[in-house]
């Protein structure tokens, strides 16, 4: 029985708790997880634009919003074309719950403390999502177009992780 891999580093554990899922996810579930993850990062970016005055952090947040919105627009167009209805599942529900908690935590911070916490969470979030994409979501996807979109997403999100790590290093 395949389980959704939870590649959570020690540093990321507090930020994101990904649940295990009993069986390999279906394409509608994968679409929902991927869309949810993108949407959550867009929300995080919007929060950063409201809270941060650091140009480097704001540039990063704007890029997250722009890139994730682009992927999600493509994902929506694809599921429409394939007549697939994204299916809510425990993984996407847990992602949302964790992100809500993180957003609430970040809302209590300001200035440099907010910047560091936001970027650290971005590193953790992308690391976790990238791990899930590589180990479970991409291998489990059946539709070739969905698989291809996820692969492009993984390439993109690796860039985001690297970018977040660079910003985090500069903030220290």
């Amino acid at each position: 029985m395949t389980r959704i891999a939870l590649l959570i580093s020690a540093g990321a554990a507090l930020a994101i708790a990904m649940p295990v899922q009993a069986a390999a996810p279906t394409d509608p579930q994968i679409a929902h997880i991927a869309y949810t993850a993108g949407n959550l990062d867009v929300e995080a970016g919007k929060q950063a634009l409201k809270m941060s005055h650091n140009a480097m952090v704001r540039d990063f947040a704007q890029q997250m919003i722009r890139d994730h919105e682009a992927v999600n627009a493509k994902a929506l167009a694809l599921v429409k074309k394939l007549h697939v209805t994204p299916e809510a599942n425990p993984t996407s529900a847990s992602l949302t719950k964790s992100a809500d908690a993180e957003r609430a935590k970040l809302a209590k911070l300001s200035g440099a403390a907010f910047d560091r916490a936001y970027i650290d969470n971005e590193v953790a979030f992308h690391k976790t999502v990238n791990g899930a994409l590589a180990s479970t979501l991409i291998p489990s996807a059946h539709n070739p177009e969905l698989k291809s979109l996820l692969e492009t997403g993984l390439t993109l999100f690796k860039e985001h992780q690297m970018h977040a790590e660079q910003v985090a290093a500069k903030l220290k």
């Binding site: 890029q63 722009r66 890139d67 682009a70 992927v71 627009a73 493509k74 291809s148 692969e151 492009t152 390439t155 993109l156 690796k158 860039e159 690297m162 970018h163």
Partner: protein, 109 residues
């Protein structure tokens, strides 16, 4: 009506500043289309001085074609295209400012 003979130096879609300026193109000059898609630049074929390279961003993301030595920078929204005129021989490495893992190079003789 006066005939316009001057060439438009740059594609309107390219919002970046090209420091490789437009030059009169010899008769044998060629135009090469280089597609950007799925977070990758297609390989740039061997170039000659006078050639034109048209970068077409078919990806869903905004990308740039930015020289590592800052000699040129083309900023391409999804669906946009930008033109680079080759006016000197040599090799130029480039990358995307937004996704620095995207890298390419071109060589002109």
């Amino acid at each position: 009506m006066r005939k316009l003979t001057r060439r438009r130096p740059l594609c309107a879609a390219a919002t970046g500043v090209l420091l490789l300026v437009a030059v009169p193109v010899p008769a044998a000059a060629a135009t090469h289309v280089v597609v950007i898609d799925k977070m990758k630049y297609a390989p740039v074929p061997p170039l000659k001085v006078g050639d034109t390279v048209v970068f077409v961003n078919n990806d869903m993301f905004r990308h740039t074609v930015t020289a590592t030595n800052n000699k040129f920078n083309i900023d391409l929204m999804p669906g946009a295209r930008g033109t680079l005129h080759i006016n000197s021989a040599g090799t130029a490495a480039f990358y995307c400012k937004y996704h620095p893992g995207m890298r390419g190079s071109m060589t002109a003789k």
